[in-house]
Protein backbone atom coordinates (compact mmCIF):
# COMPACT_ATOMS: atom_id res chain seq x y z
CA UNK A 1 0.00 0.00 0.00
CA UNK A 2 2.64 2.53 1.07
CA UNK A 3 4.93 1.46 -1.77
CA UNK A 4 2.32 2.49 -4.34
CA UNK A 5 1.67 5.75 -2.49
CA UNK A 6 5.40 6.41 -2.42
CA UNK A 7 5.66 5.73 -6.16
CA UNK A 8 2.81 8.15 -6.85
CA UNK A 9 4.31 10.87 -4.66
CA UNK A 10 7.70 10.36 -6.29
CA UNK A 11 6.18 10.90 -9.75
CA UNK A 12 4.56 14.12 -8.55
CA UNK A 13 7.76 15.45 -7.03
CA UNK A 14 10.07 14.37 -9.84
CA UNK A 15 7.57 15.72 -12.37
CA UNK A 16 8.20 19.27 -11.16
CA UNK A 17 11.30 19.26 -13.29
CA UNK A 18 12.28 22.90 -12.98
CA UNK A 19 11.90 23.03 -9.21
CA UNK A 20 13.67 19.69 -8.78
CA UNK A 21 16.45 20.79 -11.12
CA UNK A 22 16.90 24.22 -9.58
CA UNK A 23 16.78 23.21 -5.92
CA UNK A 24 17.85 19.57 -5.79
CA UNK A 25 19.53 18.20 -8.89
CA UNK A 26 21.56 21.29 -9.70
CA UNK A 27 24.30 20.34 -7.23
CA UNK A 28 24.89 16.78 -8.55
CA UNK A 29 24.71 18.08 -12.12
CA UNK A 30 27.17 20.87 -11.34
CA UNK A 31 29.51 18.34 -9.71
CA UNK A 32 29.21 16.08 -12.75
CA UNK A 33 30.03 18.93 -15.11
CA UNK A 34 32.91 20.09 -12.91
CA UNK A 35 34.59 16.70 -12.63
CA UNK A 36 33.82 15.92 -16.27
CA UNK A 37 35.61 19.10 -17.24
CA UNK A 38 38.58 18.30 -14.98
CA UNK A 39 38.77 14.79 -16.45
CA UNK A 40 38.89 16.17 -19.99
CA UNK A 41 41.57 18.68 -18.99
CA UNK A 42 43.55 15.92 -17.25
CA UNK A 43 43.31 13.76 -20.36
CA UNK A 44 44.53 16.52 -22.63
CA UNK A 45 47.04 18.29 -20.40
CA UNK A 46 50.21 16.56 -19.07
CA UNK A 47 50.89 19.70 -16.97
CA UNK A 48 47.57 19.31 -15.17
CA UNK A 49 48.29 15.64 -14.51
CA UNK A 50 51.62 16.67 -12.94
CA UNK A 51 49.80 19.17 -10.74
CA UNK A 52 47.43 16.43 -9.67
CA UNK A 53 50.38 14.23 -8.80
CA UNK A 54 52.00 16.91 -6.64
CA UNK A 55 48.93 18.69 -5.21
CA UNK A 56 46.61 17.88 -2.33
CA UNK A 57 43.77 15.42 -2.82
CA UNK A 58 41.43 14.20 -0.09
CA UNK A 59 41.38 10.48 0.76
CA UNK A 60 38.35 8.56 -0.53
CA UNK A 61 36.59 8.46 2.85
CA UNK A 62 36.63 12.27 3.07
CA UNK A 63 35.84 12.84 -0.61
CA UNK A 64 32.65 10.77 -0.47
CA UNK A 65 31.45 12.89 2.45
CA UNK A 66 32.02 16.30 0.79
CA UNK A 67 28.63 16.22 -0.94
CA UNK A 68 26.85 15.82 2.40
CA UNK A 69 28.77 18.65 3.98
CA UNK A 70 27.34 20.96 1.34
CA UNK A 71 23.74 20.13 2.24
CA UNK A 72 24.21 19.87 5.99
CA UNK A 73 24.85 23.58 6.43
CA UNK A 74 22.79 26.79 6.39
CA UNK A 75 22.79 27.11 2.61
CA UNK A 76 21.67 23.52 2.21
CA UNK A 77 18.74 24.14 4.51
CA UNK A 78 17.57 27.12 2.42
CA UNK A 79 17.58 24.94 -0.67
CA UNK A 80 15.67 22.16 1.04
CA UNK A 81 13.19 24.66 2.53
CA UNK A 82 12.53 26.24 -0.86
CA UNK A 83 11.95 22.89 -2.51
CA UNK A 84 9.62 21.54 0.17
CA UNK A 85 7.60 24.79 0.08
CA UNK A 86 6.94 24.26 -3.62
CA UNK A 87 6.05 20.60 -3.13
CA UNK A 88 3.52 21.23 -0.35
CA UNK A 89 1.93 24.50 -1.47
CA UNK A 90 1.45 23.11 -4.99
CA UNK A 91 -1.25 20.75 -3.70
CA UNK A 92 -3.25 23.74 -2.51
CA UNK A 93 -2.52 26.02 -5.44
CA UNK A 94 -3.57 23.38 -7.98
CA UNK A 95 -6.47 22.15 -5.84
CA UNK A 96 -5.25 18.58 -6.05
CA UNK A 97 -5.75 17.45 -2.45
CA UNK A 98 -9.39 16.76 -3.30
CA UNK A 99 -8.27 13.92 -5.59
CA UNK A 100 -6.81 12.04 -2.64
CA UNK A 101 -8.47 13.06 0.62
CA UNK A 102 -11.69 11.05 0.09
CA UNK A 103 -9.78 7.82 -0.46
CA UNK A 104 -6.96 8.02 2.05
CA UNK A 105 -6.66 9.11 5.63
CA UNK A 106 -5.05 12.49 5.84
CA UNK A 107 -2.36 11.17 8.18
CA UNK A 108 -1.12 8.60 5.68
CA UNK A 109 -1.23 11.16 2.86
CA UNK A 110 0.92 13.65 4.72
CA UNK A 111 3.37 11.13 6.19
CA UNK A 112 3.94 9.60 2.75
CA UNK A 113 4.61 13.04 1.35
CA UNK A 114 7.12 13.82 4.11
CA UNK A 115 8.89 10.51 3.60
CA UNK A 116 9.00 10.90 -0.18
CA UNK A 117 10.38 14.44 -0.06
CA UNK A 118 13.05 13.21 2.35
CA UNK A 119 13.88 10.21 0.14
CA UNK A 120 14.03 12.41 -2.96
CA UNK A 121 16.49 14.77 -1.30
CA UNK A 122 18.59 11.90 0.06
CA UNK A 123 18.75 10.32 -3.41
CA UNK A 124 19.97 13.54 -4.99
CA UNK A 125 22.64 14.12 -2.35
CA UNK A 126 23.75 10.50 -2.43
CA UNK A 127 24.24 10.95 -6.17
CA UNK A 128 26.16 14.15 -5.40
CA UNK A 129 28.45 12.39 -2.91
CA UNK A 130 29.08 9.53 -5.35
CA UNK A 131 29.95 11.97 -8.14
CA UNK A 132 32.34 13.91 -5.89
CA UNK A 133 33.89 10.72 -4.51
CA UNK A 134 34.35 9.16 -7.94
CA UNK A 135 35.52 12.50 -9.34
CA UNK A 136 38.33 12.83 -6.80
CA UNK A 137 39.12 9.15 -7.41
CA UNK A 138 39.57 9.91 -11.13
CA UNK A 139 41.85 12.80 -10.25
CA UNK A 140 43.92 10.44 -8.09
CA UNK A 141 44.13 7.99 -11.01
CA UNK A 142 45.17 10.76 -13.41
CA UNK A 143 47.79 11.94 -10.91
CA UNK A 144 49.00 8.37 -10.42
CA UNK A 145 48.46 8.58 -6.64
CA UNK A 146 46.90 6.56 -3.89
CA UNK A 147 43.28 7.42 -2.99
CA UNK A 148 43.78 6.81 0.74
CA UNK A 149 44.03 3.69 2.84
CA UNK A 150 41.24 1.13 2.78
CA UNK A 151 40.66 -1.41 5.49
CA UNK A 152 37.81 -2.78 7.56
CA UNK A 153 38.13 -0.23 10.34
CA UNK A 154 38.27 2.78 8.01
CA UNK A 155 35.33 1.43 6.03
CA UNK A 156 33.23 0.86 9.16
CA UNK A 157 34.01 4.37 10.38
CA UNK A 158 33.15 5.76 6.93
CA UNK A 159 29.82 3.94 6.82
CA UNK A 160 28.93 5.29 10.27
CA UNK A 161 29.74 8.88 9.29
CA UNK A 162 27.98 8.47 5.95
CA UNK A 163 24.85 7.15 7.67
CA UNK A 164 24.99 10.05 10.13
CA UNK A 165 25.11 12.59 7.28
CA UNK A 166 22.16 10.91 5.61
CA UNK A 167 20.18 10.92 8.85
CA UNK A 168 20.99 14.59 9.46
CA UNK A 169 19.89 15.49 5.93
CA UNK A 170 16.67 13.50 6.31
CA UNK A 171 15.95 15.19 9.66
CA UNK A 172 16.68 18.66 8.26
CA UNK A 173 14.40 17.88 5.32
CA UNK A 174 11.66 16.67 7.65
CA UNK A 175 11.84 19.87 9.71
CA UNK A 176 11.82 22.03 6.57
CA UNK A 177 8.92 19.98 5.22
CA UNK A 178 6.92 20.63 8.39
CA UNK A 179 7.55 24.39 8.09
CA UNK A 180 6.56 24.17 4.44
CA UNK A 181 3.44 22.10 5.02
CA UNK A 182 2.20 24.35 7.81
CA UNK A 183 2.86 27.48 5.76
CA UNK A 184 1.16 25.97 2.73
CA UNK A 185 -1.92 25.09 4.78
CA UNK A 186 -2.36 28.72 5.75
CA UNK A 187 -1.20 30.57 2.63
CA UNK A 188 -2.25 28.05 -0.09
CA UNK A 189 0.18 29.70 -2.50
CA UNK A 190 3.47 28.37 -3.87
CA UNK A 191 5.08 31.80 -4.06
CA UNK A 192 4.03 32.98 -0.60
CA UNK A 193 4.96 29.64 0.97
CA UNK A 194 8.33 29.75 -0.74
CA UNK A 195 9.17 33.16 0.74
CA UNK A 196 7.68 32.48 4.17
CA UNK A 197 9.63 29.24 4.53
CA UNK A 198 12.85 30.90 3.41
CA UNK A 199 12.29 33.72 5.93
CA UNK A 200 11.54 31.19 8.69
CA UNK A 201 14.75 29.32 7.87
CA UNK A 202 16.76 32.55 7.79
CA UNK A 203 15.30 33.53 11.16
CA UNK A 204 16.13 30.14 12.60
CA UNK A 205 19.68 30.16 11.24
CA UNK A 206 20.27 33.77 12.21
CA UNK A 207 18.51 33.72 15.56
CA UNK A 208 21.67 34.95 17.27
CA UNK A 209 21.50 38.34 15.58
CA UNK A 210 18.19 39.49 17.10
CA UNK A 211 19.21 37.90 20.40
CA UNK A 212 22.45 39.90 20.38
CA UNK A 213 20.47 43.08 19.61
CA UNK A 214 18.11 42.38 22.50
CA UNK A 215 21.12 41.74 24.72
CA UNK A 216 22.83 44.95 23.54
CA UNK A 217 19.83 47.28 23.70
CA UNK A 218 17.87 45.93 26.63
CA UNK A 219 20.55 44.05 28.56
CA UNK A 220 18.24 41.07 28.41
CA UNK A 221 20.09 37.78 28.17
CA UNK A 222 18.13 35.51 25.87
CA UNK A 223 21.19 34.34 23.96
CA UNK A 224 20.85 30.83 25.37
CA UNK A 225 17.75 30.40 23.21
CA UNK A 226 19.88 29.54 20.17
CA UNK A 227 20.75 26.28 21.91
CA UNK A 228 17.19 25.07 21.31
CA UNK A 229 16.83 25.71 17.58
CA UNK A 230 17.11 22.77 15.15
CA UNK A 231 19.94 24.21 13.03
CA UNK A 232 22.29 24.54 15.99
CA UNK A 233 21.45 21.12 17.35
CA UNK A 234 21.87 19.40 13.99
CA UNK A 235 25.29 21.06 13.62
CA UNK A 236 26.13 20.13 17.21
CA UNK A 237 25.20 16.46 16.69
CA UNK A 238 27.31 16.44 13.54
CA UNK A 239 30.27 17.99 15.39
CA UNK A 240 30.05 15.59 18.35
CA UNK A 241 29.87 12.54 16.12
CA UNK A 242 32.56 13.56 13.62
CA UNK A 243 35.09 15.53 15.71
CA UNK A 244 34.27 14.43 19.22
CA UNK A 245 33.61 17.99 20.42
CA UNK A 246 30.50 20.13 20.47
CA UNK A 247 29.71 23.01 18.16
CA UNK A 248 29.59 26.70 19.04
CA UNK A 249 28.25 29.16 16.49
CA UNK A 250 30.29 32.23 15.43
CA UNK A 251 30.33 34.99 18.05
CA UNK A 252 29.74 32.55 20.82
CA UNK A 253 32.31 30.75 22.87
CA UNK A 254 35.91 31.66 23.63
CA UNK A 255 36.66 35.14 22.32
CA UNK A 256 33.06 35.73 21.34
CA UNK A 257 30.65 38.33 22.66
CA UNK A 258 28.76 35.84 24.70
CA UNK A 259 30.32 32.87 26.38
CA UNK A 260 27.90 30.03 27.13
CA UNK A 261 29.04 27.38 29.61
CA UNK A 262 29.62 24.78 26.88
CA UNK A 263 27.92 23.35 23.81
CA UNK A 264 24.87 21.14 24.34
CA UNK A 265 25.72 17.58 25.22
CA UNK A 266 25.11 15.09 22.41
CA UNK A 267 22.21 13.50 24.26
CA UNK A 268 20.56 16.88 24.87
CA UNK A 269 20.87 17.87 21.21
CA UNK A 270 19.42 14.53 20.10
CA UNK A 271 16.56 14.99 22.56
CA UNK A 272 15.87 18.55 21.35
CA UNK A 273 15.82 17.42 17.72
CA UNK A 274 13.44 14.56 18.52
CA UNK A 275 11.16 17.00 20.36
CA UNK A 276 11.23 19.40 17.38
CA UNK A 277 10.44 16.66 14.87
CA UNK A 278 7.65 15.11 16.95
CA UNK A 279 6.13 18.49 17.83
CA UNK A 280 6.25 19.83 14.27
CA UNK A 281 4.86 16.60 12.82
CA UNK A 282 2.07 16.54 15.41
CA UNK A 283 1.07 20.16 14.80
CA UNK A 284 1.20 19.67 11.02
CA UNK A 285 -0.90 16.50 11.14
CA UNK A 286 -3.37 18.04 13.59
CA UNK A 287 -3.83 21.10 11.38
CA UNK A 288 -4.17 19.01 8.22
CA UNK A 289 -6.71 16.66 9.79
CA UNK A 290 -8.98 19.48 10.93
CA UNK A 291 -8.60 21.62 7.83
CA UNK A 292 -11.38 22.10 5.30
CA UNK A 293 -10.12 21.41 1.78
CA UNK A 294 -11.80 24.25 -0.06
CA UNK A 295 -9.65 24.65 -3.17
Amino acid sequence: MYREMFAGEWKKIAGQRWAALLFVWIAPIAALVFFGFLAVVALLSPGFREELADGTLPPWNDAFLYGWLMVNNEFGRYVIAAFTAIVFAGEYQWGTWKNFVPHRTRTSLLLTKFFTVGAFTITAWTAMSLIVGIGFGLMAVFGGRSYGAFNGEIFREFIGTYGLQMALTFTATLIAACYAALTAMFTRSVLVSFFVVIVLTILENGILLPLFLIYGFFDLDLLWLYRFVPTYNLANINAWLTTGTGFSPPGVGDGGVYVPPEPNALGLSLFIIVVWVVALLSVTLWQFRRQDITT
Binding site: G8, P102, D292
Partner: protein, 322 residues
Protein backbone atom coordinates in the same frame (compact mmCIF):
# COMPACT_ATOMS: atom_id res chain seq x y z
CA UNK B 1 -34.32 0.98 4.10
CA UNK B 2 -31.00 2.58 4.89
CA UNK B 3 -29.29 -0.46 3.30
CA UNK B 4 -30.67 0.66 -0.06
CA UNK B 5 -29.86 4.32 0.36
CA UNK B 6 -26.66 5.42 -1.30
CA UNK B 7 -26.68 8.75 0.53
CA UNK B 8 -28.40 9.98 3.66
CA UNK B 9 -27.78 13.52 4.82
CA UNK B 10 -29.30 14.17 8.22
CA UNK B 11 -29.63 17.76 9.47
CA UNK B 12 -26.36 18.65 7.79
CA UNK B 13 -25.13 22.13 8.68
CA UNK B 14 -21.98 24.06 7.87
CA UNK B 15 -21.18 27.42 9.40
CA UNK B 16 -18.14 29.41 8.28
CA UNK B 17 -16.42 32.11 10.33
CA UNK B 18 -16.20 32.67 14.05
CA UNK B 19 -17.19 36.30 14.47
CA UNK B 20 -19.33 36.86 11.39
CA UNK B 21 -20.98 33.53 11.01
CA UNK B 22 -22.10 32.52 7.56
CA UNK B 23 -24.44 29.56 7.36
CA UNK B 24 -23.51 27.91 4.07
CA UNK B 25 -25.59 24.77 4.57
CA UNK B 26 -28.53 24.85 6.94
CA UNK B 27 -30.06 21.68 8.31
CA UNK B 28 -30.06 19.79 5.02
CA UNK B 29 -31.76 16.42 5.13
CA UNK B 30 -32.11 14.23 2.07
CA UNK B 31 -31.91 10.65 0.95
CA UNK B 32 -30.65 9.28 -2.37
CA UNK B 33 -31.68 5.74 -3.16
CA UNK B 34 -29.17 3.50 -4.93
CA UNK B 35 -29.59 3.27 -8.69
CA UNK B 36 -30.87 6.80 -9.20
CA UNK B 37 -29.62 9.92 -10.90
CA UNK B 38 -30.21 12.56 -8.27
CA UNK B 39 -30.10 16.22 -9.22
CA UNK B 40 -28.92 18.85 -6.78
CA UNK B 41 -29.95 22.26 -8.02
CA UNK B 42 -29.33 25.73 -6.77
CA UNK B 43 -28.08 29.18 -7.70
CA UNK B 44 -24.39 30.06 -7.35
CA UNK B 45 -23.49 30.20 -3.67
CA UNK B 46 -26.54 28.17 -2.66
CA UNK B 47 -24.46 25.59 -0.78
CA UNK B 48 -24.25 22.81 -3.39
CA UNK B 49 -20.46 22.47 -3.49
CA UNK B 50 -20.13 22.86 0.29
CA UNK B 51 -22.61 20.00 0.73
CA UNK B 52 -20.66 17.86 -1.74
CA UNK B 53 -17.37 18.66 -0.03
CA UNK B 54 -18.84 17.50 3.28
CA UNK B 55 -20.10 14.31 1.61
CA UNK B 56 -16.53 13.63 0.49
CA UNK B 57 -15.03 14.41 3.89
CA UNK B 58 -13.11 17.32 2.39
CA UNK B 59 -14.90 19.53 4.92
CA UNK B 60 -16.07 18.82 8.42
CA UNK B 61 -19.78 19.52 9.02
CA UNK B 62 -20.56 21.90 11.87
CA UNK B 63 -23.38 19.53 12.82
CA UNK B 64 -25.44 16.73 11.34
CA UNK B 65 -24.37 13.47 9.81
CA UNK B 66 -23.62 11.88 6.44
CA UNK B 67 -24.08 8.21 5.68
CA UNK B 68 -23.04 6.53 2.47
CA UNK B 69 -24.42 3.05 1.79
CA UNK B 70 -25.68 2.93 5.35
CA UNK B 71 -22.38 3.80 6.99
CA UNK B 72 -21.66 7.13 8.67
CA UNK B 73 -18.52 8.51 7.03
CA UNK B 74 -17.02 9.93 10.22
CA UNK B 75 -16.78 6.39 11.65
CA UNK B 76 -16.32 4.48 8.39
CA UNK B 77 -13.95 6.52 6.26
CA UNK B 78 -13.34 3.46 4.09
CA UNK B 79 -16.84 3.76 2.61
CA UNK B 80 -15.52 6.74 0.62
CA UNK B 81 -13.50 4.27 -1.43
CA UNK B 82 -16.81 3.36 -3.11
CA UNK B 83 -17.24 6.95 -4.23
CA UNK B 84 -15.91 8.71 -7.30
CA UNK B 85 -16.11 12.46 -7.50
CA UNK B 86 -15.57 15.41 -9.75
CA UNK B 87 -15.78 18.54 -7.63
CA UNK B 88 -15.78 22.14 -8.81
CA UNK B 89 -13.77 21.70 -11.96
CA UNK B 90 -10.99 19.30 -12.75
CA UNK B 91 -7.83 19.85 -10.71
CA UNK B 92 -4.66 18.11 -11.76
CA UNK B 93 -0.91 18.66 -11.81
CA UNK B 94 -0.31 21.01 -14.73
CA UNK B 95 3.21 19.75 -15.34
CA UNK B 96 2.17 16.09 -15.75
CA UNK B 97 0.44 14.52 -18.72
CA UNK B 98 -3.18 13.46 -18.52
CA UNK B 99 -2.19 9.82 -18.27
CA UNK B 100 0.49 10.46 -15.67
CA UNK B 101 -2.05 12.38 -13.60
CA UNK B 102 -4.37 9.37 -13.59
CA UNK B 103 -1.46 7.08 -12.68
CA UNK B 104 -0.58 9.27 -9.73
CA UNK B 105 -4.19 9.38 -8.52
CA UNK B 106 -4.49 5.60 -8.85
CA UNK B 107 -1.22 4.90 -7.07
CA UNK B 108 -1.83 7.23 -4.15
CA UNK B 109 -5.44 6.16 -3.71
CA UNK B 110 -4.58 2.46 -3.95
CA UNK B 111 -6.39 1.51 -7.15
CA UNK B 112 -3.78 1.83 -9.85
CA UNK B 113 -4.57 -0.22 -12.96
CA UNK B 114 -2.84 0.67 -16.23
CA UNK B 115 -5.35 -1.14 -18.40
CA UNK B 116 -8.26 0.62 -16.74
CA UNK B 117 -6.53 3.97 -17.23
CA UNK B 118 -6.15 3.26 -20.95
CA UNK B 119 -9.77 2.12 -21.20
CA UNK B 120 -11.03 5.22 -19.40
CA UNK B 121 -8.93 7.53 -21.55
CA UNK B 122 -10.47 5.91 -24.62
CA UNK B 123 -13.93 6.12 -23.10
CA UNK B 124 -13.68 9.86 -22.47
CA UNK B 125 -12.02 10.47 -25.85
CA UNK B 126 -8.62 11.52 -24.55
CA UNK B 127 -6.55 8.54 -25.67
CA UNK B 128 -4.84 10.49 -28.44
CA UNK B 129 -3.99 13.39 -26.10
CA UNK B 130 -3.08 11.30 -23.06
CA UNK B 131 0.65 12.12 -23.30
CA UNK B 132 0.07 15.85 -23.55
CA UNK B 133 0.68 17.96 -20.44
CA UNK B 134 -2.48 18.86 -18.51
CA UNK B 135 -1.66 22.58 -18.67
CA UNK B 136 -2.23 22.44 -22.44
CA UNK B 137 -5.72 20.92 -22.17
CA UNK B 138 -8.85 22.82 -23.13
CA UNK B 139 -11.61 23.21 -20.55
CA UNK B 140 -13.56 20.40 -22.18
CA UNK B 141 -10.55 18.08 -22.11
CA UNK B 142 -9.99 18.90 -18.45
CA UNK B 143 -13.59 17.99 -17.66
CA UNK B 144 -13.21 14.70 -19.53
CA UNK B 145 -10.05 13.88 -17.59
CA UNK B 146 -11.94 14.75 -14.40
CA UNK B 147 -14.62 12.24 -15.34
CA UNK B 148 -11.99 9.59 -16.04
CA UNK B 149 -10.39 10.26 -12.64
CA UNK B 150 -13.76 9.98 -10.91
CA UNK B 151 -14.38 6.59 -12.52
CA UNK B 152 -10.98 5.08 -11.83
CA UNK B 153 -12.06 3.13 -8.75
CA UNK B 154 -15.23 1.87 -10.46
CA UNK B 155 -17.33 3.71 -7.87
CA UNK B 156 -20.79 2.65 -6.75
CA UNK B 157 -21.65 6.32 -6.18
CA UNK B 158 -20.52 9.02 -8.55
CA UNK B 159 -20.70 12.60 -7.32
CA UNK B 160 -20.50 15.11 -10.15
CA UNK B 161 -20.34 18.84 -9.53
CA UNK B 162 -21.17 20.78 -12.71
CA UNK B 163 -19.71 18.05 -14.94
CA UNK B 164 -20.67 19.60 -18.27
CA UNK B 165 -19.01 22.98 -17.74
CA UNK B 166 -16.85 23.69 -20.75
CA UNK B 167 -18.14 20.83 -22.87
CA UNK B 168 -19.41 21.44 -26.39
CA UNK B 169 -22.97 20.39 -27.34
CA UNK B 170 -21.87 16.96 -28.50
CA UNK B 171 -19.84 16.53 -25.33
CA UNK B 172 -22.79 17.46 -23.14
CA UNK B 173 -25.02 14.95 -24.90
CA UNK B 174 -22.32 12.31 -24.61
CA UNK B 175 -21.87 13.04 -20.91
CA UNK B 176 -25.64 12.81 -20.38
CA UNK B 177 -25.85 9.43 -22.08
CA UNK B 178 -22.76 8.23 -20.32
CA UNK B 179 -24.04 9.11 -16.84
CA UNK B 180 -27.49 7.72 -17.59
CA UNK B 181 -25.91 4.50 -18.81
CA UNK B 182 -23.89 4.17 -15.63
CA UNK B 183 -27.18 3.99 -13.77
CA UNK B 184 -29.27 1.90 -16.15
CA UNK B 185 -26.62 -0.57 -17.32
CA UNK B 186 -24.16 -0.69 -14.46
CA UNK B 187 -26.42 -0.02 -11.47
CA UNK B 188 -24.44 2.97 -10.22
CA UNK B 189 -25.86 5.93 -8.36
CA UNK B 190 -25.17 9.42 -9.65
CA UNK B 191 -25.44 12.55 -7.52
CA UNK B 192 -25.36 15.46 -9.93
CA UNK B 193 -25.03 19.10 -9.02
CA UNK B 194 -25.80 21.46 -11.84
CA UNK B 195 -27.44 24.69 -12.78
CA UNK B 196 -28.12 23.49 -16.33
CA UNK B 197 -31.78 22.81 -15.68
CA UNK B 198 -32.56 21.36 -19.07
CA UNK B 199 -29.85 18.80 -18.51
CA UNK B 200 -31.06 17.90 -15.04
CA UNK B 201 -34.64 17.57 -16.26
CA UNK B 202 -33.56 15.10 -18.92
CA UNK B 203 -31.26 13.07 -16.72
CA UNK B 204 -32.49 12.99 -13.15
CA UNK B 205 -35.02 10.81 -11.39
CA UNK B 206 -35.27 13.05 -8.34
CA UNK B 207 -34.09 16.55 -7.55
CA UNK B 208 -33.51 18.74 -4.53
CA UNK B 209 -33.49 22.50 -4.91
CA UNK B 210 -31.24 24.32 -2.49
CA UNK B 211 -30.93 28.05 -1.95
CA UNK B 212 -29.11 29.95 0.80
CA UNK B 213 -28.15 26.59 2.27
CA UNK B 214 -31.74 25.44 2.72
CA UNK B 215 -33.52 22.72 0.75
CA UNK B 216 -36.57 24.41 -0.72
CA UNK B 217 -38.11 21.45 -2.54
CA UNK B 218 -37.27 17.80 -3.02
CA UNK B 219 -39.00 15.08 -4.96
CA UNK B 220 -39.39 13.14 -8.19
CA UNK B 221 -38.87 15.33 -11.23
CA UNK B 222 -42.15 14.23 -12.86
CA UNK B 223 -44.18 14.85 -9.74
CA UNK B 224 -42.67 18.27 -9.15
CA UNK B 225 -43.36 19.37 -12.72
CA UNK B 226 -47.00 18.33 -12.48
CA UNK B 227 -47.57 20.52 -9.48
CA UNK B 228 -48.66 23.58 -11.40
CA UNK B 229 -50.30 22.55 -14.71
CA UNK B 230 -51.25 25.25 -17.19
CA UNK B 231 -53.42 25.60 -20.31
CA UNK B 232 -52.33 27.92 -23.07
CA UNK B 233 -55.33 29.35 -24.84
CA UNK B 234 -55.66 31.52 -27.92
CA UNK B 235 -59.09 33.19 -27.97
CA UNK B 236 -60.67 36.46 -29.15
CA UNK B 237 -61.50 38.90 -27.81
CA UNK B 238 -58.79 38.09 -25.30
CA UNK B 239 -59.74 40.67 -22.63
CA UNK B 240 -63.31 39.39 -22.52
CA UNK B 241 -62.09 35.79 -22.33
CA UNK B 242 -59.81 36.69 -19.44
CA UNK B 243 -62.65 38.41 -17.58
CA UNK B 244 -64.84 35.32 -17.94
CA UNK B 245 -62.24 32.82 -16.75
CA UNK B 246 -60.52 34.85 -14.00
CA UNK B 247 -63.16 34.18 -11.31
CA UNK B 248 -62.62 30.43 -11.70
CA UNK B 249 -58.93 30.00 -12.57
CA UNK B 250 -55.82 32.12 -11.97
CA UNK B 251 -54.48 33.34 -15.29
CA UNK B 252 -52.26 35.83 -17.03
CA UNK B 253 -52.17 37.30 -20.49
CA UNK B 254 -48.89 36.65 -22.26
CA UNK B 255 -48.65 38.27 -25.71
CA UNK B 256 -51.77 37.07 -27.57
CA UNK B 257 -52.37 34.11 -25.31
CA UNK B 258 -53.95 33.32 -22.01
CA UNK B 259 -51.97 31.17 -19.58
CA UNK B 260 -54.53 29.57 -17.32
CA UNK B 261 -53.57 27.59 -14.23
CA UNK B 262 -55.82 24.62 -14.80
CA UNK B 263 -55.59 20.86 -15.19
CA UNK B 264 -56.43 18.74 -18.19
CA UNK B 265 -59.74 17.87 -16.47
CA UNK B 266 -60.70 21.57 -16.41
CA UNK B 267 -60.46 21.95 -20.21
CA UNK B 268 -64.11 21.03 -21.06
CA UNK B 269 -65.54 23.44 -18.48
CA UNK B 270 -63.15 26.13 -19.58
CA UNK B 271 -64.13 25.75 -23.24
CA UNK B 272 -67.84 25.59 -22.41
CA UNK B 273 -67.57 28.90 -20.53
CA UNK B 274 -65.93 30.59 -23.49
CA UNK B 275 -68.19 29.02 -26.10
CA UNK B 276 -71.38 29.94 -24.20
CA UNK B 277 -70.21 33.57 -24.19
CA UNK B 278 -69.46 33.69 -27.93
CA UNK B 279 -65.69 33.79 -27.53
CA UNK B 280 -63.80 32.42 -30.56
CA UNK B 281 -61.28 29.74 -29.63
CA UNK B 282 -58.32 29.18 -31.99
CA UNK B 283 -55.96 26.98 -29.99
CA UNK B 284 -55.87 25.07 -26.71
CA UNK B 285 -52.58 23.55 -25.55
CA UNK B 286 -51.89 21.79 -22.29
CA UNK B 287 -48.56 23.20 -21.12
CA UNK B 288 -46.12 21.22 -19.06
CA UNK B 289 -44.05 23.21 -16.67
CA UNK B 290 -40.33 22.98 -17.38
CA UNK B 291 -37.88 22.40 -14.59
CA UNK B 292 -36.52 25.84 -15.29
CA UNK B 293 -39.90 27.43 -14.66
CA UNK B 294 -40.35 25.32 -11.57
CA UNK B 295 -36.90 26.27 -10.33
CA UNK B 296 -37.54 29.95 -10.93
CA UNK B 297 -40.86 29.75 -9.10
CA UNK B 298 -39.29 28.02 -6.12
CA UNK B 299 -36.23 30.21 -5.84
CA UNK B 300 -37.80 33.50 -6.91
CA UNK B 301 -36.94 36.27 -4.55
CA UNK B 302 -34.79 33.94 -2.52
CA UNK B 303 -31.41 34.71 -4.03
CA UNK B 304 -29.25 36.97 -1.85
CA UNK B 305 -28.98 39.77 -4.39
CA UNK B 306 -32.52 39.45 -5.60
CA UNK B 307 -31.36 38.18 -8.98
CA UNK B 308 -31.88 34.68 -10.21
CA UNK B 309 -28.30 34.04 -11.06
CA UNK B 310 -28.86 30.50 -12.17
CA UNK B 311 -31.23 31.10 -15.00
CA UNK B 312 -28.46 30.39 -17.46
CA UNK B 313 -30.56 30.67 -20.58
CA UNK B 314 -31.37 34.21 -19.61
CA UNK B 315 -27.71 34.95 -19.05
CA UNK B 316 -26.58 33.49 -22.35
CA UNK B 317 -24.64 30.73 -20.63
CA UNK B 318 -26.53 27.94 -22.23
CA UNK B 319 -25.38 28.33 -25.79
CA UNK B 320 -23.95 24.83 -25.65
CA UNK B 321 -27.13 23.06 -24.73
CA UNK B 322 -28.54 21.14 -27.68
Amino acid sequence: MSQQSAVILDSLTKVFGRRRKIVAVDNVTLRVEAGQVYGFLGPNGAGKTTTIRMMLSLMQPTSGSISLFGKPIHAHHEVLRRVGAHVEGAAFYPYLSGRRNLEVIGQINGYHDSERIDALLRQVGLDHRARQKFRGYSLGMKQRLGLAAALMNDPALLIMDEPTNGLDPAGIQEMRHFLRELVTKHGKTVFLSSHLLNEVEQMCDRVAIINRGVILREGEVKALLQEKPRIRLEAQPIEQAAALLRPHWPLEIVNDHLLVEATRGDIPALLRTLHDNQIDIYEVVQQKQSLEEFFLNVTEGASPDGNLTTAPQEQGMLNHVP
